[in-house]
C-alpha cells in the first residue's frame, strides 16, 4: 500500500458521509521524509474500521493513526493542523474530518417547503422533498434539494426510508396528510433524529387526540416538535422557515432557543445605573 492519491481521498470525503459513516484523512504537510503522504480512516457503523493508504515510513505511522482516532472521538473536532512527532521528527499533519450526512425530509412541497429546502441545504442537510402532486414535486421548485420525490402520503417514505440521521418536517397541505405521515414516522425503529409538524395549537391538539385513540404511547407524543419552530413571531413562509431552521440548529447543537441578550443580561450584570 502507498500514500492515498488526492483523488481517492477526496472521493472518500464525499462518499463516506453519504454512506452514513465518518472519515478522517491525515496528510503530512510538515517538512518530513514523507511530506505529502496521505492516509484515511473510515468508520461505518456495523463495519470494521478501515485504513486506506500508508506513509512511506518504517515506523511512526502509529502516532498518526492514534491522532486520527482521537479526532473521531471528539465531537467538536474540525479540519486543521496538528503537530506530531513522526519517526522521531516533529512534523505537522493536516486533518480533515467528515461526519455522516444529516438528512432533512420535507413532507409537502408547498410554499413553506421552498424556503425550508433552501435553508436546510444551506445548513448542510441533504434535503429530500416529498409530495403527492407531480406539479409541486418538481426539481424546478426545489433546486437545492438532493431529491424531489412524488409519493403517496399513505406511504411517503417507501422510496427513501427514514433512519437515525433523518429530520422529518411535516408541512403538507392538510391535517389528514400530516397525520398519515406522522404516524409512520413515529413507528420507525430506530426513530428519526427529529420530527416536526406544522400547525396551530388546535390542529396539533386534534392530531394528538387522534394518535392516542390510535393507541400511540403517550411518551411518543413528546418526541414530536409541534407546532414546529422557535417563537420569533414568524408570519411569512420565509420567516416560518427561519424559525424552523433555528429549531433544527437548536436540536443539533443543544442550544436553548432563548435570546442571547436575555441569557447574558450584560447591562444588568455589568452596567447597573446608580440610583
Amino acid at each position: 500500500m502507498t500514500s492515498l492519491h488526492p483523488a481517492e481521498a477526496a472521493r472518500l470525503l464525499v462518499e463516506t458521509p453519504e454512506r452514513g459513516g465518518s472519515v478522517v484523512v491525515a496528510t503530512v504537510v510538515g517538512d518530513n521524509q514523507c511530506t505529502g503522504n496521505r492516509i484515511a480512516l473510515i468508520v461505518i457503523e456495523s463495519e470494521e474500521p478501515e485504513l486506506q493508504g500508508s506513509l512511506s515510513l518504517k515506523s511512526g505511522t502509529d502516532s498518526v493513526i492514534q491522532l486520527m482516532k482521537d479526532i473521531l472521538e471528539n465531537p467538536r473536532a474540525s479540519d486543521g493542523l496538528h503537530e506530531l512527532t513522526i519517526a522521531d521528527h516533529l512534523s505537522e499533519v493536516y486533518i480533515e474530518i467528515r461526519r455522516p450526512v444529516q438528512e432533512l425530509v420535507v413532507v409537502g412541497a408547498g410554499h413553506i417547503a421552498q424556503p425550508l429546502a433552501h435553508l436546510g441545504a444551506l445548513l448542510g442537510f441533504q434535503v429530500i422533498v416529498i409530495d403527492d402532486r407531480p406539479e409541486f414535486a418538481t426539481r424546478e421548485r426545489f433546486p437545492s434539494a438532493e431529491k424531489v420525490i412524488r409519493a403517496d402520503f399513505s406511504d411517503p417514505f417507501r422510496e427513501t426510508p427514514l433512519h437515525t440521521r433523518s429530520h422529518v418536517l411535516l408541512v403538507t397541505r392538510g391535517h389528514k396528510y400530516d397525520y398519515a405521515c406522522l404516524i409512520r414516522a413515529l413507528r420507525m425503529d430506530p426513530p428519526p433524529a427529529y420530527i416536526g409538524m406544522i400547525g396551530s395549537r388546535r390542529r396539533v391538539r386534534a392530531t394528538y387526540v387522534q394518535l392516542l385513540e390510535e393507541g400511540m404511547a403517550h411518551a411518543l407524543l413528546d418526541r414530536i416538535h409541534a407546532p414546529v419552530g422557535l417563537d420569533i413571531g414568524a408570519e411569512t413562509p420565509e420567516e416560518i422557515a427561519v424559525a424552523v431552521a433555528a429549531e433544527l440548529i437548536m436540536v443539533r447543537r443543544g442550544g436553548t432557543g432563548a435570546s442571547l441578550k436575555g441569557v447574558e443580561r450584560i447591562v444588568e450584570r455589568f452596567f447597573k445605573e446608580d440610583k
Binding site: T2, H5, R11, T27, Y94
Partner: protein, 112 residues
C-alpha cells in the same frame, strides 16, 4: 468546505487523473487574522483547464497559482505563507488583513 465543494473538487481531481494530466492542489491548512477563506478551503490548479475552487479570490491567490506551477514542475510539495496584512490599500474587493498557511502538493496523473 461544504459537501458540494467536496464533490466538485473530487470531480476535478478525477477528471485530471483520467485524462493523465498533472495538476496541483492547494489547501489552506491554517489562518491568522481575517482571511477571505477559512481552513479547509481548496483549489485545484490544472494547467490545461484552469482553476476549480478558490483559496481567496484576489487576495494572494496569484501567489498560490505561481507556487502551484512550481510544484507541478518539480513534483515536490510546498508550503506557501500568504501575508495579506500589507495589502490593505489595494483596490481588491477581497481585501483582508490576515495570514494564510497553504499546502500546495502535486497531483500525479494516471493510476496510483
Amino acid at each position: 468546505m461544504t459537501h458540494d465543494d467536496d464533490r466538485s473538487l473530487t470531480q476535478a481531481l478525477e477528471a485530471a487523473r483520467e485524462a493523465g494530466r498533472r495538476c496541483a492542489m492547494a489547501t489552506i491548512v491554517a489562518t491568522k487574522g481575517s482571511t477571505p477563506r477559512k481552513v479547509g478551503a481548496r483549489m485545484i490548479v490544472d494547467p490545461d483547464t484552469g482553476l476549480v475552487g478558490t483559496v481567496g479570490g484576489g487576495c494572494g491567490e496569484a501567489e498560490v497559482i505561481e507556487a502551484a506551477y512550481r510544484v507541478i514542475e518539480t513534483g515536490k510539495a510546498q508550503r506557501v505563507n500568504v501575508d495579506l496584512t500589507d495589502d490593505l490599500v489595494s483596490w481588491s474587493p477581497a481585501v483582508c488583513g490576515g495570514v494564510m498557511d497553504i499546502f500546495v502538493e502535486p497531483v500525479s496523473p494516471g493510476p496510483s
